[in-house]
Amino acid sequence: MSFLNPLFLIGLSIVSIPIIIHILSRKKPRKIEFSYLKFLEIAARRAIKKFRLRQYLLLLIRCLIIILISLIFARPVIRYISSSENIETILLIDNSYSMNYYKDGITRLANAKESAKKIITLLKPGEKLSIFSFSDSLIPIVKNPTTDRRIVLSELENINLTHNKTDALNAIKESEKYFENKNTEKRIILFSDFAINGWSSKTSLANEQNKIIGIDVGDDNPDNFAVSGIDINNNSIGITIANYAGYDKRILASLYIDNIKYRDIFFNAESYKSITQNFNLKNISNGIHRCFLEIEPDKLTVDNKNFFAFNYQDKPKALLIDGNPQFSEFKGEVYFLNTALQNDTLTKVINYDQIDNESFDNYSIIFLCNVSELSRNNVIRLSEFISKNKNIVFFPGDKVKLDKYNTDMSSLFPCEFSSVLDGGELMNFGISDNAEIVKKVNIYKRFLLSPKLNSETLLQFSDNSPFLMKGNNNVYVYAVSANLIYSDIPVKPLFPILIKQLLGYFSSKEILIKNLNIGEKLTESSDPNISGVIYPDGKLTKSSIERVEIPGIYELKYRNKKNKYLNANIEVISGESDLKKITISELKKILGKTSIFKISADKYFEKNIKKILYGSEIYKILIIILLLLFIAETIIANPRKT
């Protein structure tokens, strides 16, 4: 507190007057003879305490009246922050994506800028200013403190919205480094919507002496709806919509594939809850599609859209060739295999005799099960097949002619078939969750496979001999048959797992799609094989990028491999879309010893900020208190006569 007319404080010295009057007013008692003192004594004992209390209260009120009169003339001013002439001020303006929230036709950022302009004009002309914008990081706008208001106001206009989340504590901590002088008083004026997510980081402030003035451009009851996640599994898509409003809402979402609306979906989203719906995509061509999901417009539109590249693939067609067909289908070579493949592939079973009549072009996988030998022509046909980046899988059996496999057909195989061994035990080949399943299989017989150069052993027996081998020509060879002659694997739970794993090897050659949050650093950025990047707007650059700033689908072009797709979206899951405001008590708890004064950027903003910056005279309050004291004095000094 300070005083505009401190000379009047001399008046405080006359506070002694009522005390003197009080002392002098004690009259000398007159003597009266009385019959009986007992009742007088008891009454005096009981009543005098109240009386004295009243007298002291009266004295106190009279002293206070004199103090108040002196203070009123001295014109006291309450200062919320120091009024030192030597102040450095930093303006921090939140430009995270939640500041794009519209209210009364303007965004929160625009409101923040307007408020900042008002403050800049209210500051003393000689006061140095610097400006920074912040979201998850601090960006200098006017880094060096200046008194030139023209520059500051002009640069203020250049602050644009980002698609990043907020980290206000980091911004405060980082901005403190830009204060120039040690001996100045430091003040940070922070413009933000004070959404609770922006204050959730664990950053601790370096300097607790700084004063923060918070300008709140947020709303007390904001409502927002957002696409909080897209999950793709094969040809199935899972969409999650979040309701950040205080009421339930039926939200319309539209899925666009290659800029054409694919379908509309309604979500009945409960207040402050998320809802997920899954569905399968159908009737679209195989290959990469650029998609986005968009919900109906709300006050914050930036989180209404989610972009994703989608590699649609029909189920692969597999040809199963039974080299030893049996009358009982169950005893055949491909019965169990066909069953295991049903969910993930479109299969066709033929006998080896029919192979010449079957065109391989219709298939992407061929399974050869206990085929005794292949004709030269078919070896050539299969070689052509794999040259098209397609896959062949061999399951051997007791009909296999090893000499043929190791000579005429050897060009196809990644291994030689050495001999048939009895028994065996599988090694736990990376199926850690199913260790027990692996142990429970019985191997009766197996082929000893001798790997060739450039081949790869994918799965092993416990004696390190190969169980599954892969050649660099996409030919896969198992050491056991696909029926129950060599092992009981086809009737054990392990079998579908092995087949899934096998199909996984095929798809590993697929195009890679990666999800990325806006602002996240790209791990591939330093890869020398990247020849360029295609941006969401279709523009091609010849250099790589370090981080993405705009939501959309980015395509990384590689010199030596297929392109990679980046689904870049804002990080809704971080909580930035939840616009619920932090309370002042929570804020003070987070800031610890750093003091903060928060005011709203409402119609009283100018009046309030003046109070904060330059204090407020309190004589009106003092006059009211004075009047109340006068009334109290009158009442106490003239108790009701009884």
Partner: protein, 293 residues
């Protein structure tokens, strides 16, 4: 007639006899005609005239019919023995203005003595403070009245009070059933006084208590910073009556109420009077009691 029973007016009369006569006659003239007679001069029977009987009691109607002298006999002739016990301690001398409690009490005593002797009741007077200062035994002749009135005329309030002790001490002297009329400010240990007075009731005596206080003692109508000095001791107290007035009045009120309640329980007549109360109240109370004896 009420004005003639105003203590201040009574005080202006010269002798105690006149005061007593004035009060009693004033009281009687204010009553309906037969009350006084009805209670104390009720006709009982005739007896033959004998020498020395007052001629005014001759029944001339009987004489006219029978030519014999018969005297009317009245109820009051069954003599009542009464004792007026008057507290003359220093505290009874207190007066704020007008008359002191002692003067007021003496007027009541004189009036009652006058009335009782006029009704041929025998009445005695006991004056006391912490000791019995004067004991005039009960008699019913007219010359005895002047003895009592003379004593009442020369009263001076002095000495400390010890009513309970006096009451206990005096009760030993009473053999026959007696009407005790106690006149005092009763400003002592309340429990002891109540206990002592009740003793008389246990001994089958009748008791009337006239509790007399000054108006100021009742309402403490004093202002300013005051040093109070107790008249019966050297005790003093400095206080402001304005501050303690409310509490004091409450205490006095409780004090009086307690006497009223306790005496009522033991069938003891209790009258609270202050020195500005008209004196007829005392006589009314007496007559009411006398009727029931």
């Amino acid at each position: 007639m009420k004005q003639f029973l105003d203590p201040l007016i009574i005080a202006k009369l010269s002798t105690m006899y006149l005061k007593a006569k004035f009060i009693v006659e004033g009281f009687i003239s204010g009553l309906h005609s037969s009350r006084f007679k009805g209670h104390s001069l009720e006709f009982a029977q005739h007896r033959e005239y004998s020498f020395g009987d007052e001629l005014k009691h001759l029944d001339w109607t009987v004489y006219a019919k029978s030519d014999k002298y018969f005297i009317k006999q009245y109820e009051e002739e069954t003599n009542l023995k009464s004792y007026i016990m008057l507290d003359k301690s220093a505290s009874m001398g207190y007066k704020s203005n007008g008359i002191s409690k002692l003067e007021y009490a003496s007027y009541i005593a004189a009036s009652l003595a006058y009335m009782m002797i006029k009704q041929s009741d025998s009445v005695g007077l006991l004056l006391y403070d912490s000791k019995i200062k004067k004991n005039i035994p009960p008699r019913s002749n007219l010359s005895h009245l002047s003895v009592i009135l003379d004593e009442l005329s020369n009263l001076k309030a002095e000495g400390q009070t010890d009513i309970s002790k006096i009451l206990l001490e005096f009760s030993k002297n009473l053999k026959k059933r007696t009407l005790i009329i106690l006149l005092s400010d009763l400003l002592e240990d309340q429990e002891n006084i109540i206990k002592s007075v009740k003793n008389y009731r246990f001994a089958k005596h009748e008791v009337i208590v006239f509790h007399i206080l000054d108006k100021t003692e009742e309402i403490l109508d004093i202002s300013g910073n005051v040093l109070f000095k107790e008249v019966e001791s050297e005790n003093t107290l400095i206080t402001e009556p304005d501050i303690i007035k409310k509490e004091y009045r409450k205490l006095i009120s409780e004090f009086i109420e307690k006497y009223k309640l306790e005496f009522h329980k033991s069938d003891i007549d209790y009258s609270y009077l202050n020195t500005s109360t008209p004196l007829d109240l005392a006589i009314t109370n007496y007559l009411s009691k006398r009727e029931n004896i």
